[in-house]
Amino acid sequence: MLGMSANSVSYNEQGSVESGVDAAQENSSIPASISSGGAASSLFSADYKKNEDLKEMLESNKESLKLEAMKRIVGLIAKGKNASELFPAVVKNVASKNIELKKLVYVYLVRYAEEQQDLALLSISTFQRALKDPNQLIRASALRVLSSIRVPIIVPIMMLAIKEAATDLSPYVRKTAAHAIQKLFSLDPDQKEHLIEVIEKLLKDKSTLVAGSVVMAFEEVCPDRIDLIHKNYRKLCNLLVDVEEWGQVVIIHMLTRYARTQFVSPWREDAVFDENSEKAFYDSEEERRVDQSKPYIMDPDHRLLLRNTKPLLQSRNTAVVMAVSQLYWHLSPKHELSIITKSLVRLLRSHREVQYIVLQNIATMSIQRKGMFEPFMKSFYVRSTDATHIKTLKLEILTNLANEANISTILREFQTYVKSQDKAFAAATIQAIGCCATNISEVTDTCLNGLVLLLSNRDETVVAESVVVIKKLLQTQPSQHSDIIKHMAKLFDNITVPMARASILWLMGEYCEHVPKIAPDVLRKMAKTFTDEEDIVKLQIVNLAAKLYLTNSKQTKLLTQYILNLGKYDQNYDIRDRTRFIRQLIVPNEKSGALSKYARRILMAPKPAPVLQSAFKDRDRFQLGTLSHTLNSQASGYLELSDWPAVAPDQSVRNVEVKEAGAPALSKSKPAKSNEKFYSDSEEEEGEEEEGSNSEDSSSSSSEESVRESESEENSNDSNKSSSSQSEKSSSESDSEKKKKTLKNKKLQQQKPDSKDRKQKNGNAVKVESRSESESGSESSSSESSSESRSELDSDSDSGTDQKKNTKPKPVQSKPVIKQVEKKEVSLLDLDDFSPAPVTTPKSSILSPNLLSDLQGLLISPTASALQASSPVFVPETSHELLHRMTGKGLSAQYRFTRQPCIYGNSMVSLQLTLSNRTDQALENIHISEKSSTGQNIHRFNAIERLEPQASVTVSMGVDFNDSTQTANFQLCTKEDEFSVSIQPAVGELLLPITMSEADFTKEQGKLVGMNESSATITITPENVSSQSVNRKVVSVANLGVIPSGQENIYRFAGKTVSSGSLVLVSVALKDPDAMITINTEKTVMGSMLLRQVKTALTNSGP
């Protein structure tokens, strides 16, 4: 305001316009169009000016005057006043150099262009020019305004502009293009096909800036074109963490819908939970297909989505948290659902409106899954300061959460609420008590008594509500409660609320046989007051009369006839109808015929008790978190969540071409990047910052991704010849190198788990990095560097246009390589961040011979000292399922690790197999097929000639797992059938226990330091602190020998790997309340896996 008044001073001095000093005086002469603003507050005293003044100001030469005029016009628009007649004067300034003036003109244009289409066309050429401006901000804003002008004539121009902007180098402009798509679609739906093409192109965009907007456009224009998502699914999942928060919400909702069409339900009873998903992630296609024959294994892409959305539960944006929660609700296996609880409860601290929506969703969830929110019951306690709708929702949730265990607490809480000053809330509480009483039979009587006490409450609404609820309760067991009915009859005179009166009358009628003396008396009273009652009460009086007539006609015949006569002439047609109907039914005469014989059976039929159920029952037919869910009715534009498909559609559609094992590798590396990119940013020189996400992407991802990028870039970079030729080169290169790369990718994966451990010991890690650089970096460097340099070019042209920023050429070759290594390393870390369940090694990661030798070259070779093998300390009894009887057509097989040295070979793990025949025919010739699909050395058991029905047999076999947790796949055959089965060893089973002295242990441990050591500090649960429990937990996880320890609080275990005999040393040092687990082994992969398992074992409570 200060600005404005100062301004008015300035133009006063210039004298070009008359001052607005005496506003009131001018007001009298103002034409009608503006005088509508007469009521404006003093702030808008400038509004009193004639539009003529504004026009003059706009036409003056002074920028400041024009600006002032525009500011006032915007003020008018904001107040909702009509300023359309200024259109010609305003539109002239559209090409102004002053940015603020220009922006204000834009605001005006967008507001009025629709009304003044012809004049609006005058401005179009300005925008077309601006679309070519070197400044990306100007290009973007030109497109924004151009697309916001809702003038059908310019649709072709808009279309052209959008197409062009979609290939713009600036991601910001592309984002604007994505927004423009929706605008054009709403202006002219006929353009749909063309727009879908643009959407398809933009969906391929890898900028986090664009992702949210284009998905929004997708949702609005073509939500049914699920096929467009396939190829981008993994990319979207991986980008998600970096997308701005609003985009996250939209993408998450879209992906929820997508996932429901593409994956099979994880909710099946016999679901084998996702232990295998990690492994499956690395599977090549063939192996995955094998998996499908198993009961249920989550699609790795499904898992990817769940995993990548989980960190977003910590977002500060409530909409994001809600979106993730609904995604988990609709997509995750039931046992994983509990992670959303805390986050949802956290949202309850937020604003009132947020609480309202979140509580609604919790109410729906809590009906189906009490357990989720029960521990947080107290968070739903009502405060007297809560808004009424919040209170009722909390009540609803408390009711849903009530069970036998907590009902007493809840009822005590309810007692406080009943006394609330907010009577509507008190009434709702009474209903809630009623609900609890019906749901939990133990407390029915207590509740009923409590409610009866409330009947003497002073407040009428409370009493009325109690009556209604008691009526419902009594219906379940009327015979025991005739005294309550009598009590209510006594109260009848004092109750005036119609609903309550009607309820009592109904009770009387229904159970008149239980209160034979009182009922006729009540009817007598009612006959007197019939005419003064509310309609609802009158209907019940008629009912009562009819029922009494049938049961006790001697006393009530006359009364009934009197009431029926009154009813006959009532003003309300409902009552007249009812009366006529009842009369025909109960009073026998010639006309009534057969029906009246059954009158008693009709009227006195036993009625089922009403089910008191939550308003949120069945609300989950709507996707949670949506507007439709909130309203409990379908909002326009609501997209139904489809049911899970019975059979998963082809998974390979999501594979992005040019690779096989590539996709998983890439999806692994990406989420890591997301967080780690800050580091890389800060390490780079400032000038590099504008590179933006584009270069981040290309540099961080593996080489085949750069090919993808180059494809999309090819479309876009017509002008940028050097870049397109480069990308062509890179794609051709990568084609020829395809094979090599797949190989390389495999290697990369193998490296990951190893070097992840090494990361913790930075000193040693350097060595490995340099090696991996020379191995993988060199192969990919050609394509790598080209992609890098291309993205450099991107940024160059961006910043080049931005004139201020000068670009300096950088050494292209060296940087990306280093960066690549960094990223890789980082992604390794993530592997264990992500896996909640004990993770098994990737299937395809058999350490390839040369890598193995490479690794060993780096290691200090262990001296095989006097290690004595010992017998296992603990042999787990649990057996694992190998073949379910359903899949095995009646043949079921279970296996168990015996933890004994294998008699078949020194490097084999001994297994015990139990085969049972569950059919009613004998099975013949059960054996393991000769061909083993994964190449492990398997010692087969001798073929079993014949297995009788319902019989079982135990055989033993040996498998050489080659010290990796890769599954052993083989065929279990009967005479007729072949079943492929697989054994997944836990890492602890690949060990044999040994004993050694404590001194030897420390000596060996001293040799296995550096990257051979992996350690972790955990918080140990109290019950695990004792030495017994530590020992028990560790040996149950892994087949290790216990080393007698001289120090308290340090526990040592030793073992060797079965195949190669490498030493594995585990020590657990307790420092209350923490425990430090250290594992020393040259088998670093196993070491890290073992560490994780020991960690979980020691942090979990229970046996």
Partner: protein, 418 residues
């Protein structure tokens, strides 16, 4: 998504409208006014209102209703969160978000709204970016602008908009580099008549004011991170590091921001700093009642309680209160029926007491329930949960910043049932 936004004052004055798609007549707000009337209290207005062709999603903040018009399905929280973000932006720009400031700065408000949404979809909501696009008003700048005709509008695209760190602008320079953190904890509790805790939890936030040059990378660690039950972070915090190491590692936004919020729900950890002895009774005859409240310290960890305020929402029938306070002042507003007793600092030697009689509307039945008391208090230099910041490290920049941590505990929704 969001079609239009209307700002409506508590008095029902529609003082600003903004449309992002075609114009929707302001008569749509009649549905809102209808609901507003039905709700009586502004807090009771349902956040989502259905009209025949549109949906109105509204928030109530600082005595202003922000009413947005929606035409198709959209997650309601999306809109609600956005509207709150708008209100916060106004607060950030103008110091407060009130009808007057919005009217005073209507042009900037309009420019802001224009940047924040494009076609109803949020475009730039990060305060750092907005401030580069549209500079916040200062007295000096408005003077300069008037004279030179220069504008408040930035001419280039903010660098943050394109970078992977959208919350921080590039090229920040300070002569004094400083980083201050406020650990603010609020105790939410419900105590019952006898003083036992029905429910208690701690809600904490860490507010930061970071004025550091360049691109600093900060790491904040706690002495006892395991206290934190559930956390949510500003987008700048690297979640992975928190998961693995329990340290907060981030590149901070420039200026004031909320770094994280957390939640401690374990009841045994929540110390209740105050106890209240109260006796409120209404007599059956004579239309009067008696009130007697004493407040005393409970678990204060040796600190003094400050800014102690007791608020009582009296039943409707209470006409007036004739009380005497041994410390502080009391005020009874017969219109809103709210009794406020402002005690100030609590002296453990001489406990404050408020005593006296209440007069009721004659003839009306005595109230069923005694009103519950809401307590407000503040304890300086104490995080009631015992949370302690261990250290703050700055990486990536050479200078040595001033660092400081302040702890404050407050009563949040602290209610004593009577």
């Amino acid at each position: 998504m969001i079609h239009s936004v209307f700002l409506i004052s508590n008095a029902g004055d529609l003082f600003l409208e903004k449309h992002w798609k075609s114009v929707i007549s302001r008569s749509i707000c009649d549905y809102f006014f209808e609901a507003r009337e039905k709700a009586v209290e502004p807090d009771n207005v349902p956040p989502v209102i259905r009209t025949p062709h549109h949906y109105l999603i509204n928030i109530y903040r600082e005595k202003i209703f922000f009413v947005s018009v929606i035409q198709t399905e959209v997650p309601p929280l999306f809109v609600i969160e956005f509207l709150h973000r708008v209100a916060e932006t106004f607060q950030d720009y103008f110091g407060e978000c009130s009808e007057t400031t919005i009217k005073d700065n209507v042009v900037i408000v309009y420019e802001l709204l224009e940047e924040m949404l494009d076609n109803g979809f949020p475009l730039a909501t990060e305060s750092n970016i907005l401030k580069e696009l549209i500079r916040p008003p200062t007295i000096l700048r408005s003077m300069v602008n008037t004279i030179t005709g220069s504008s408040n509008v930035g001419e280039t695209l903010p660098t943050g908009q394109l970078s992977t760190i959208p919350w921080r602008r590039a090229g920040v320079k300070y002569t004094n580099n400083e980083a201050y953190f406020d650990v603010v904890e609020e105790i939410d509790a419900i105590l019952d008549k006898s003083g036992t805790t029905v429910f208690a939890e701690i809600q904490g936030v860490i507010d930061a004011c970071v004025k550091l040059s360049g691109m600093p990378d900060l790491t904040l660690s706690f002495m006892n991170p395991r206290l934190l039950d559930d956390v949510s972070f500003h987008p700048c915090v690297r979640y992975k590091r928190w998961e693995s190491e329990r340290v907060i590692s981030f590149i901070p936004p420039d200026g004031n921001f909320q770094l994280m919020s957390y939640h401690i729900s374990a009841q045994n950890l929540v110390a209740i700093p105050v106890y209240v002895k109260q006796n409120i009774s209404f007599f059956e005859t004579g239309s009067s009642g008696r009130l007697d409240i004493t407040v005393g310290p409970k678990q204060t960890m040796g600190k003094t309680l400050e800014c102690l305020v007791v608020t009582v929402h009296m039943p409707k029938v209470v006409l007036s209160a004739n009380l005497s306070a041994t410390q502080g002042t009391y005020n009874y507003d017969p219109v809103t029926k709210i009794l406020v007793w402002d005690i100030g600092k609590l002296n453990p030697q001489k406990l404050p007491n408020l005593k006296g009689s209440l007069s009721l509307q004659s003839g009306a039945p005595k109230p069923e329930e005694n009103p519950s008391l809401n307590i407000d208090l503040k304890i300086q230099q104490l995080a009631i949960s015992g949370l302690k910041v261990n250290r703050l490290d700055v990486y990536g920049e050479k200078y040595k910043p001033f660092k400081g941590v302040k702890y404050v505990s407050k009563a949040g929704k602290f209610q004593v049932r009577t």
